[in-house]
Point group: C2
Chain length 128, copies 2
DNA sequence: GTAGAAGTTCGGGTCGACGCGAAGTCAAGG
DNA sequence: CCTTGACTTCGCGTCGACCCGAACTTCTAC
């Protein structure tokens, strides 16, 4: 049992994505699998974990190029990027929090017109 | 002072976007300004508030078509959509929270390899 | 050793959300 | 009247992320 190398089909299925996508991500420098002598992609457990993490990161709003740097960049740069993304996620979270509050408010707001409702106006003119 | 109608240039500048964008959003059915006799767009205070809200909603991940429905759809449908988006925002928030925790962890994680770190693995295999 | 499943490369297509510039229109000042 | 500047429509270009099919090669099970 030589460290469970899976081919692209299995890997894609387990991850719930298409094989096209895995090739695309490779082309974008996100994840680079090993190759057999004949050129077929083989994904080991490490890479599959990295892929899973990449998916989560993407859901958190990171671009493919950012994720690629995160996974493959030099350690120093990597640390900086992680911290940066951490901040970005926090800002994103703050925005979402305001949005959630606003939507909650809208559900019970009786003002027919935004301008007449201080809470709506507050959201409209909230920082970034 | 007849309810401050602004032209597209002023409106765009105050909002920090391009005039192209405002026309684009109109074409997508997001916001439909009044027109002068000659066909020039005029944005009243109400519409400008709506625009500001649309911008926030977009930052919260909503698509233009969703926003268009939110702003212009029939009240019944609107309520449903708001509730739906509210839920989506919450799910999004939950994901971001996990991501933030993961990034925090990565900043102080000493394991050289993801597979060897239970916390990293936990994030990799966390629900959606 | 060979069939057929699964893989490969390559190039073009789609979708959402824009940007951009050309060519024409309108309104106000000199 | 004419200029000037902000506006109009129209259509094509871009970018990120992705899907898809054609044509060919490799892998694997029998």
């Amino acid at each position: 049992m030589t460290t469970q190398l899976l081919r692209i089909g299995e890997t894609a299925e387990r991850l719930g994505v298409s094989t096209h996508l895995l090739r695309h991500w490779e082309a974008e420098g996100v994840i680079t699998p090993e190759r057999t002598a004949g050129g077929a992609r083989r994904y080991g457990p490490e890479l599959r974990d990295a892929l899973a993490i990449a998916v989560k990161c993407q859901h958190a709003g990171m671009s493919l190029s950012t994720i690629a740097q995160l996974l493959n960049g030099p350690p120093g740069e990597r640390r900086r990027l992680v911290a940066e993304q951490r901040d970005a996620v926090d800002r994103h979270r703050a925005r979402l929090e305001r949005t959630a509050a606003f939507l909650d408010h809208v559900l019970r707001c009786t003002h027919p017109v935004v301008r007449e409702c201080p809470e709506c106006r507050a959201f409209a003119s909230s920082t970034p």
